[in-house]
Symmetry: C2
Subunit: 329 residues, 2 copies
């Protein structure tokens, strides 16, 4: 199960097995989406399969995740999603009303994100060889001229901004899956981030890195960026916005909010000179009202994420080996 968790084991599978097998430069970038040259345009192209349990949860469904997840992967290249594909693997016996509710959620989420479902596929497998509904979406979008956003571009001096409070999606899933109550209902943050990214790029095209910290959470995303760029990331842990309900649930469950999944948040690495303006633009957008500076890139500890703790000490934020919560997306 750990190989599917988005942590170190997932990375090994990709680096040591898939990348050599497919042998090409494009895949080597390992961003959330590939940026591809075509005559007259640069395309972003991304794919994700969704296996979340349960199919419906507070704040959304597998249908919302399937649209928003791929829209967001494209947005992390600076691209506005144009077209999505949508492929179902249905388990024999799943009710058509369930499939219908998911398709309706996909349609509504696509409309909200301004993306067109262009093509699809449906396969059915025998009972016991699936889990109700699995969905794959792939997406394509155009990358604006002058935009070059990828993990390798983080450099010392960059300011690290998160777009809002973290951990809501993971805790929302966990609460329904385990039947836990935390006083207040925690809702998933699933949302399409394309227009937030557009608002940021209207300030400056020189955004260095964007990442949506889904599986593996913020801690994993920061580690991947530090490793890809060879830059150190200094995190000010007390500046990371953690909702009270998430902090409480994490304490109860023995989880670290830094590794809990998000579905409607992004982390941005921007040049210091642009940071204030980008932060202001984010806060003016409905999906960025809780944006906060949470750290910076440093020349020290290259490739590592180090947190300054509340007490003035430091701790290394590692890449998790597997996953805290399986099948979160």
């Amino acid at each position: 199960m750990g190989h599917g968790g988005g942590g170190a084991l997932s990375g090994e599978l990709t680096r040591h097995l898939f990348t050599p097998a497919y042998g090409n430069e494009t895949l080597g970038g390992l961003g959330d989406s590939a940026v591809l040259p075509l005559p007259g345009a640069r395309l972003a192209f991304s794919t994700d399969s969704f296996v979340v349990r349960p199919l419906f949860f507070p704040g959304g469904s597998i249908g919302d995740l399937a649209v928003n997840g791929t829209v967001n992967d494209l947005a992390m290249s600076g691209a506005r999603a144009a077209y999505l594909s949508c492929a179902f693997i249905l388990e024999e016996g799943v009710g058509l009303p369930v499939v219908g509710r998911i398709a309706d959620a996909i349609g509504a989420a696509a409309a909200a994100a301004g993306v067109v479902i262009a093509t699809g596929d449906t396969k059915v497998v025998e009972a016991g060889h699936g889990d109700g509904v699995y969905v794959n979406t792939s997406g394509i979008g155009l990358v604006p001229d002058g935009v070059d956003i990828r993990p390798q571009r983080a450099v010392p001096g960059d300011v690290v901004i998160v777009s809002g409070p973290i951990g809501l999606h993971g805790i929302a899933i966990m609460s329904v899956r385990e039947g836990l109550e935390f006083g207040v209902e925690v809702e998933s943050d699933t949302a399409p981030l394309g227009s937030l990214v557009e608002a940021m790029l209207a300030v400056t095209r020189d955004v260095h890195v964007l990442r949506d910290p889904t599986r593996g959470g913020l801690g994993t995303a920061l580690n991947e960026i530090a490793a890809a760029s060879g830059t150190g990331v200094a995190l000010v842990e007390r500046h990371v916005p953690v909702p009270e309900a998430v902090a409480g649930a994490c304490g109860f469950l023995g989880l670290d909010p830094l590794y809990v999944a998000n579905e409607g948040r992004l982390v941005a690495f921007v040049p210091r000179t642009e940071a204030d303006a980008v932060l202001a633009a984010m806060r003016a957008h409905p999906l960025g009202t809780g944006a906060a500076v949470i750290g910076e890139c440093v020349a020290e500890h290259p490739g590592m994420v180090v947190s300054r703790t509340g007490l003035g000490g430091t701790r290394v934020i590692d890449l998790p080996l597997g996953e805290q919560l399986p099948r979160i997306c």
Copy 2:
């Protein structure tokens, strides 16, 4: 299970559930891939999930199907595949050597088809919620200027050509799955059809329809084209190339070769004036040596496929309700 078989039930699911839910014109075309406008280019975009059992079979593997299937869906729009995504859903406990063999097959098939694996994803589900390995590929390619290939373009007078003998993939899968022996080993015909389509388009850009008759076989493909265009298709059944081994196996199993899956064949509808030249170009290509004219479009029985049998009678070739062989691709 029938809803995944590519027959009438699959069509109902798409028409009555998915298309209304996603509500857009692009999806309404319902070809093997969508043709999408982007500044300066027309893109083809297609997706397919592969759930074939077993993962390895005579003539190929799920990896070959995953590449060739999507390359071929793009080719059926006249597009040369440029980039593929590749997403795995792995069942907990599947051996990494198995995943490695599949990834190697994907890499080799991509190289053979001249397509780049640009982006990917891996999810892992618990044992009992998958079946070893499921693979989704999505692909994008460019449609040449002046090419407009889609099922709606079939018109009375078109000549119907199949690129080679039918039924090999389905019988190859069936033979290993059921442990049957038919004297000679039947191998899957899985192959990338992009270069064959290029050779055809070098003769004329006015190819009306292309379809790779996979799930549901040639009979289903012809029915879909007849229904989409409102044209009658008159099939000369004795001209359909059925290998002896396929005919024998079908007799033994009680199957109709017209509904058995293919993975490296196409059916083309071309204007009568171009038919001889297109057929010659196909026969000169390694994947089209067995090409044959199998019928024509007629003004009679609009939307229906009618076969002239060996004895001079006629029979209606219906759209099958579900599927003869589940999980064939």
